[in-house]
Assembly symmetry: C2
DNA sequence: TTGTAAGCGTTATCAT
DNA sequence: ATGATAACGCTTACAA
């Protein structure tokens, strides 16, 4: 029996009007202790569950927010999602998690779905340049927050990591250990983090007076296979690097595999530093040195920012620090 | 300007009644070519986005489904979520993804949220024994499907993997390579997959006439740290195992780390077989032999099943096969 | 403090 | 095929 209990049933059982029932249930102070008592009792007995959609329709607040990440299967974004979700839950918001799957078309599909669902706001780790749907959202003044990545020309509050600092730390660490030829495996130029990290790499190389051979740079797409390909390209060069810096965890894993297939050993033959601290990176052989950001905090802060925007509070973008975690992949003695 | 375009605006612009506009927009055949033309044009020009909440309120179908996984940060569940989401999208359903975070209380919180949102159905990878909320859902005849795990005493259609077969394959493989003492790192008994796998292990050990020493079994909680602890316990035994079978990917990673810390080498000193094929398992050193299931297919099939239930079509539970992927972690020569 | 009633955006019923 | 109109479950003026 699909007997949905409505507020009407609760009111009837409590012997009050629906108006009173509604006021009690939504915490309106204009209620007597007596009716509060009886309404709550009735609701409990009937197993009443308010209909969020009806509520939203009338009050034009859905208490639902959309979160669009570029790839849920990337542990980094899974952590962001986790952090954001927990923060939303704490403010009794529901999170609709969508997965763009590194695909601009799917990103737009989901943005449309969010609009259709009339979410109160959206957090997005944007793909490439701003799509039409994204532009439309900004024009419609939909509460919006960027997380991890940004898009040029969009005036949207964001929570990002200090990527430039992260790269600087990594390069300084490798330089201090005597490396002068640091190979860089970058991400897709369409993503803001990839651009920032690449620039920071060039900058740090110059500042430390290291080799700025363009052959030391290879570009991937933030996926495992591209990291392997990039590593292969860098190592095949006439004068190969003695250290590798990978701009993303999955590409680092790919590079690791490629190096092993070539019969060389990370940590001793070749140093490796990766972005993103994934839980199991410390379990690899050898454990990986990483430039880490707190992905969970990133998601949490982004959600708080979004709720501020929704409530009309003033907001400012945030940049979270990165830190270097040194493990064996970069401390074995390089063979040069 | 928060100018939300409603169907009323569209109707006015098209010069028809809202009834006609609604019929056109929702594909009702009782419409003339002329009005179809004009309504669609008006909708396009105005940038009309139907309000899913209002639609759901009136039609009592939300075209939204809930998906509750036990841990989004576990790659296995991320893959399930991905598969389910894609299948939902193909039938123009929206997926609300929630994360129980291996916590029964949060599981209930989200189940409540799903009810409040009036989703059309729910897919769940259940925690422990059936909670009150879960029981309430069954009683209310909410369309429900279990994925990966089941709960005893609940008559709910499910999509699971053939865990018994998977364990049998793994044990047969190790037995064929001469191992007689296979250490087993099991999951929490509160989870159905853990129970099934444990039983299958005992069964296979008996069938192959291997050592059934109770000291060869250790129990973890499907998280990395517990895998390390379990491995430590097994290896500290008077007569340690020559091979390890881990009932979960994260515990396998933990075990890997522990073995390395003890200065022993997986593949040569000790064989290791893990459950779940994670993308980067093949990049580990050595690459891991796994018992694999297609997590994405699991999610996809579960979603199809759910949509069948929602539409009142007859359904039957499905069991997907597992397969053994042999890599170096189990093929190095064991030292016995 | 409480009841009454309008209305949120949409679909469904019933005439026409 | 189309137009009025009621209804979905809820919140919120407005009166009382």
């Amino acid at each position: 029996m699909d007997t949905t209990v409505t507020i009407k049933d609760v009111a009837a059982r409590a012997g009050v009007s629906v108006g009173t029932a509604s006021r009690v249930l939504s915490g309106n102070p204009s209620t007597s202790a007596a009716s509060r008592e009886r309404v709550h009792a009735a609701a409990r007995e009937l197993g009443y569950r308010p209909d969020a959609r009806a509520r939203a329709l009338r009050s034009s607040r859905s208490r639902a927010v959309g979160l669009l990440v570029s790839d849920v299967r990337n542990p980094f974004f899974a952590d962001i999602a986790h952090g954001a979700e927990q923060a939303a839950l704490a403010s009794s918001y529901v999170t609709l998690l969508a997965n763009a799957n590194e695909d601009t078309a799917q990103q737009d599909t989901y943005l449309e779905a969010f609009v259709t669902q009339r979410v109160d706001g959206i957090i997005i780790a944007p793909q490439g340049e701003g799509s039409g749907s994204l532009r439309a959202l900004v024009r419609a003044r939909t509460p919006l927050v960027f997380v991890d990545r940004t898009v040029d020309g969009f005036d949207v509050p964001s929570v990002t990591a200090d990527n430039a600092q992260g790269v600087a730390l990594a390069v300084a660490h490798l330089a201090a250990r005597g490396h002068t030829r640091i190979g860089y495996i970058g991400g897709p130029p369409s993503v803001s983090t990839a651009r920032t990290r690449h620039d920071a790499y060039l900058d740090a190389v110059a500042r430390h007076g290291l080799d700025d051979d363009p052959g030391l740079v290879a570009v991937g797409d933030y996926r495992s296979a591209s990291g392997a390909a990039a590593a292969a390209a860098l190592l095949a060069a006439r004068r190969p690097p003695t250290a590798l810096l990978a701009a993303d965890s999955l590409m680092a894993v790919g590079a690791l595999g490629e190096v092993r297939r070539q019969g060389r050993r990370i940590g001793t033959d070749l140093a490796l530093v990766a972005f993103d601290d994934i839980e199991w990176f410390r379990e690899l052989d050898p454990p990986l040195t990483v430039v880490a950001h707190d992905a969970r905090a990133l998601g949490e802060r982004a959600m708080r920012l979004l709720l501020d925007v929704i409530d009309g509070r003033p907001v400012a973008s945030e940049v979270l620090p990165m830190r270097l975690v040194v493990r064996e992949s970069s401390t074995g003695r390089p063979d040069h």
